[in-house]
Amino acid sequence: MSATLSHPNPGNAKYDRVMKVAAGDKRFKILEVTMKKNQFRHDSLIEVLHKAQELFGYLEDDLLRFVAYKLKLPPSRVYGVATFYHFFSLKPQGKHTCVVCMGTACYVKGADKVVEALQNKLKVKSGETTPDGNVSLLTARCIGACGIAPAVTYDGQVSPKQTPEQALEKIGQWLQPA
């Protein structure tokens, strides 16, 4: 099942644009090294997307096209995989991220109330970013920290046994004008 590209060649307007952008950005080089390490194998697509998201923060269209061209995969396949998995984000994240775990243990211990309080405060729904791009509010399926439920991850740091008040206080620090 080896899929090939129909028009991965120079002269294709999209291809030329993507390569032009990539040429001036070191991160694309790093990404290409990752692909090379995996011998440009098709089954390394998920690893490559992980690296891409780590480098760029999110997966924008031209980045996905770059991956598709380099791995010699149809863009549809790359887009299909990127949108299938929750971990990949196609939109930029806020400066800060707040991830409330909504696993069962956290849920029965009141994680839903934490989310509600944060939604009211930030005036966004979970999964969204505040219009000024400051805070992204997300929920997770289960981060495996059930012993300390409800758990909330603030900018990558897990905090145990959170109440709505504690969460609002933490978020408040981010909302203050710098």
Binding site: I46, H86, G147
Partner: protein
């Protein structure tokens, strides 16, 4: 590497043991309460007190009692054991001065608490004792000797025979006999075979696999290597969720260390056996816990399941025979090889052998990980080990098996925990999540919570699951908003049957379980929310209009 070299490293490590060992839990749960800072502080304080020659400050994995964390265990060479709970980074000084006989006001835990005393540890035997980032610790307790024994004294047949006789069943949830699975892969023709470890622990409310991978990664690697030898594979994949970064980094360290010592790689123990393990990182899709979806994900595709047969044991990764087992299943292997099938089969019930690790969480006093023999009554787990519901509430039900399982009501707490008994109650053993709910929990809301989960996580390949979960969720929403009638409830039940019987994979087939089990035991909670329908028939009475 030869056996005597392996034993020499182990002996040297044992001989270097100091008088006192301070074990700090550096597992994801405790790190979130700054146990990493605490660990550093302890090392600094021990140095400052001039105790470096007498006290070892060891990084360990999960000790199990996560709700009381961060935990620090103190082992004295003469056998005394102490435990400190809720330790803050600033408490390091007090603990070190306690070692010198000073006073200490850090909260002391009881290492003989029923939470610990009632456990039987096979999978978690080294959890919280060995340093997961130091292979010598694992070698000191006899690590990789089972692999040596399997490679030099046993052949494929005798290993599979041992596993079959031990009665070990898949710990991922379905409970398929491992020996039969291994035998099928071994017998399947093919020059290339794979061993895959399923560490995609997506079930919300479960963290057994995370803990095993973070606390004792070599145990899983050794189990995989023995399995590979038994089925004739030379390449393994460990599929781990991206949500477990610590487990991933510790596995990477473990693989590197094992390779350096020649315990993974080519010509292991100077036999012709080669085995390499690669880590594959998941990307947040619950359905990838299903075996065929997981294999698709390893191949870099969308994680969608395919119909079985052919089973992965016959046609798996890239069409080759593939042995796929859960983390906990592999973690049982080296103990079975070391101590024998009869020893393993002496734990548990007639049909469910050995032990099972559970994540005991939710509305319960003692939160954490426990490993108990199969067949233990649920009541013992919840009341004696777990200490019952906190704040004067009473336990209403226990949810096992996550979104694929069901709720077991308080009146059935005397049920023994084994595959068959839980199945009879409409629940499943599952991977080991055990979420306790108290009298304040609304069971309809819980059913809705799980259905929303299944709706979001449905991969969309087959219609019953893709469309059915959405419809079931909307019906549950209608019920909780008090807008539904008896007719809606009938429709919901009909849909449950349909989705269960016609879905392609386990996700859809078990998605209705939370609804069906709560309807079975807590039907009155649903009926209390219903409105009289247009005909004016009384709520919940028999003989009202039939659903179409």
């Amino acid at each position: 590497m030869q056996l005597d070299e392996l034993k020499a490293i182990a002996e040297k490590k044992k001989a270097s043991a100091k008088k006192v060992c301070l074990r700090t839990c550096l597992s994801a749960g405790c790190i979130s309460s700054q146990s990493d800072v605490l660990h550093k502080n302890l090392a600094t304080e021990v140095k400052a007190a001039g105790l470096e020659n007498d006290v070892e400050v060891r990084r360990v994995g999960c000790m199990g009692f996560c709700g009381q964390g961060p935990l620090v265990g103190v082992d004295h060479k003469e056998g005394k054991e102490e435990l400190f709970e809720f330790v803050k980074p600033d408490d390091a000084k007090a603990i070190v001065s306690h070692l010198k006989g000073g006073a200490c006001d850090v909260q002391k835990g009881d290492p003989q608490h029923p939470f610990f005393a009632k456990q039987v540890k096979i999978v978690r035997a080294n959890g919280g004792i060995v340093d997961p980032e130091n292979i010598e610790d694992y070698l000191a307790i006899g690590g990789y000797q089972a692999l040596h024994h399997a490679l030099t004294e046993m052949n494929s047949e005798s290993i599979i025979d041992t596993i079959t006789k031990s009665g070990l069943r898949g710990r991922g949830g379905a409970g398929f006999p491992s020996g039969i699975k291994w035998g099928t892969v071994a017998k399947s023709p093919g020059a290339k075979k794979y061993v895959v470890c399923n560490g995609d622990e997506g079930d919300p409310g479960a963290f057994m696999d995370r803990s095993v991978l973070e606390s004792d990664p070599h145990l899983v690697l050794e189990g995989m290597a023995i399995a590979a030898h038994a089925v004739g594979a030379d390449q393994g994949f460990l599929y781990v969720r991206a949500e477990y970064p610590l487990a991933i980094s510790r596995l990477q360290i473990a693989i590197k260390q094992a390779k350096a010592l020649g315990l993974l790689g080519s010509g292991i123990f100077e036999t012709p056996f080669n085995f390499n393990v690669d880590i594959r990182i998941g990307a947040g899709a619950f359905v990838c816990g299903e075996e065929t979806a997981l294999l698709a994900s390893i191949e870099g595709e969308r994680g969608m399941p395919r119909p079985r047969p052919p089973f992965p044991a016959v046609k798996g990764l890239w069409g080759c025979p593939t042995l796929l087992n859960n983390v906990e299943t592999f973690a049982n292997i080296s103990a079975i090889i070391n101590k024998g099938a009869d020893w393993y089969a002496s734990f548990g019930t007639e049909k469910s052998k050995g032990t099972k690790v559970f994540a005991l969480t939710g509305k319960i006093k003692n939160n954490g990980l426990i490993e108990v023999p199969m067949g233990i009554p649920l009541r013992q787990i919840v009341e004696e080990m777990g200490g019952g519901a906190p704040d004067g509430h009473s336990v209403k039900s226990v949810q096992t098996g996550g979104p694929s399982g069901g709720c077991i009501p308080a009146e059935h707490l005397d049920t023994p925990v084994d595959y068959e008994s839980l199945g009879k109650l409409g629940s499943i053993m599952g991977s080991g999540g055990m979420v306790v709910m108290d009298d304040t929990t609304n069971m309809v809301e819980i059913a809705k919570f799980y259905m929303e989960f299944c709706m979001d996580e449905s991969c969309g390949k087959c219609i019953p699951c893709r469309a059915g979960t959405v419809q079931m969720f909307h019906l549950l929403e209608k019920i909780t908003q008090r807008k539904a009638t008896k007719r809606d409830l009938d429709k919901l039940e009909e849909l449950c049957d349909m989705v269960k019987n016609t879905s392609l994979c386990g996700l859809g087939q078990t998605a209705p379980n939370p609804i069906q089990s709560t309807l079975r035991f807590f039907r009155s909670e649903y009926e209390a929310l219903l409105q009289p329908d247009a005909t004016g028939a009384p709520v919940g009475a028999n003989g009202t209009a039939k659903a179409h």
